[in-house]
Amino acid sequence: MSPETRRLRGALALALRVQSRARFPHVYLGVAVALAALLRLAAVEWRELLLPVLLLGEPGTLGLYLVAAHRYYERNSGMDVALRVTPLPRATVVAAPVLTTACLGTVAGLTIQALVLGVDARLLWLAPPLFGLVVFSGLVGFALAERFAEFTRFLLGSVVPNLVLSLPFTTALGWVPPLWLVWLPSQWAVSAFVEVTRGEPDPALWAACCAGLAAANAAAMLVAMGAERSAAEAVSPA
């Protein structure tokens, strides 16, 4: 195993342990089960309408806020500084909490799907776009957490990005025409979801949506790393 792989594995294990102690899995799965119960109680037409909204929206939105919470926890404890005097690459510092949160978010989304529609093979097709969406939301959350020193300012600052990212989910409700939102990564997750759940999915379209999400995540990664670098260099004289 190369040193970089070893460090990434170490960082992922650390992020997972920190998030477990902060009860991230409990939050994610608790909300997922609650939403699934709500959907099961809903009338069939409402259930079909709301499923993509909740299945993609819950992991995405929670991903943004939980990754930011993870980062604020590291910053407030001074661990961000302690990590900077290790050989850990900056990319790994950014990626580790995002990837572990994305795993939790994917499990949460699939849990909603399984509890509402039952377990079937389509779940596996849903996992990649779901994972990609939570990675994107998490990177946005990380970058915003680096941008705003105080959590309350972050909460205000995150409203607009979160609303914009959530817009595609409303297409399922027929509120906004999908064509307007084609440039949003969350729209690609919605399109992939539609491909997976409709009768005869088009694998090429599904793959294109997943590739688009991967490209968006690469760009978001660069932005998050830049935000991390700026925050580190703006360190106070204290």
């Binding site: 960082a11 342990r17 102690r21 001074g78 005097v85 050989p87 703006a234 360190v235 106070s236």
Partner: protein, 286 residues
């Protein structure tokens, strides 16, 4: 020299210059004390050397390589003990060290042994958030030793410790230095510097006032005099004798031979006195 600094300058993006051209070198295995009051620039210098701050002026070579050109390999060779307890408070001490140790390539010491060496309990599953500040600082100290650093940065290492633990930490620092670790110690506690450091640098207003051994500094600023306390009737009287003057020396010897002397002390200055004389500032200045 393990660290070779020439004309080091630094200015925070929003403020006035903090360091105004420092020159010093540190040999391998040396315990080098960097002393100054709060705000003098000592922590900034340590942050620069630990590469937590970038964009310095001048020349800084560490391990025979310019600091700005160091790679992540640099962090394999240094350990940094911060002056505040920066830990994952929801994790145990051993978890904090175990996960941190996984980032190093060259192998690490066993977390449990390091914790035990610093009088912290083994197999303690309590989160470090439940520890006292002194215990947390010892966990930070243990973490800074995990990767067996060649260069060890210590910022107020005994702050917040009770006397037995402060003594134990000093002994640990001496032990590591004897094993070849170079120690860069920033403090405003003169007793720590005096008892530990091979050489000290006095920093004031972003400049170096002097660099020398504690002994040389004390000798250079001493008064060749003794203070004698003697009993006169029911009261204790103190008298000073300058040893460079023949008449006072003779008077002192007569007093020792015949007088009711209770105590005799040479009037060597403490390091704190020397600092005050050299820089015109007190170490505890706000």
């Amino acid at each position: 020299m393990l660290i070779d600094v020439e004309q080091l300058t630094y200015r925070y993006p929003t403020g006035a210059p903090v360091l105004g051209g420092l020159d010093f070198g540190i040999a391998e295995g040396e315990i080098f004390g960097f002393l100054g009051p709060n705000g003098s620039g000592k922590t900034t210098t340590q942050k620069l050397l630990a590469r937590l701050l970038r964009g310095y002026g001048g020349r800084v070579r560490v391990f025979d390589r310019e600091l700005a050109e160091q790679t992540s390999r640099y962090y394999e060779q240094i350990g940094v003990c911060f002056e505040f307890p920066n830990l994952y408070e929801r994790l145990s001490a051993e978890e904090n060290l175990f996960f941190y140790g996984r980032f190093f390539e060259d192998g690490t010491d066993a977390p449990a042994e390091l914790l035990e060496r610093l009088d912290l309990p083994r197999n303690d599953r309590r989160p470090v958030g439940q520890y006292s500040k002194g215990m947390k600082m010892r966990v930070v100290l243990a973490r800074s030793l995990l990767n067996r650093p060649r260069l060890w940065f210590l910022d107020e290492p005994t702050a917040g410790q009770d006397p037995p633990h402060a003594v134990a930490i000093r002994e640990l620092i001496r032990e590591r230095a004897r094993q070849g670790t170079t120690v860069f110690l920033t403090t405003h506690d003169m007793s720590v510097a005096e008892s530990l450091c091979d050489r000290v640098a006095f920093l004031a207003d972003g400049g170096l006032a002097t660099v020398d051994t504690p002994r040389n500094l004390r000798l250079a600023h001493r008064r060749r005099a003794v203070r004698v306390e003697l009993r006169e009737g029911d009261s204790l009287v103190a008298r000073e004798f300058a040893l460079d003057r023949e008449d006072e020396r003779r008077a002192f010897l007569e007093l020792v031979r015949d007088g009711p002397v209770e105590t005799i002390h040479t009037l060597e200055p403490t390091l704190e006195d020397v600092f005050l004389r050299v820089t015109g500032q007190r170490l505890d200045a706000p």
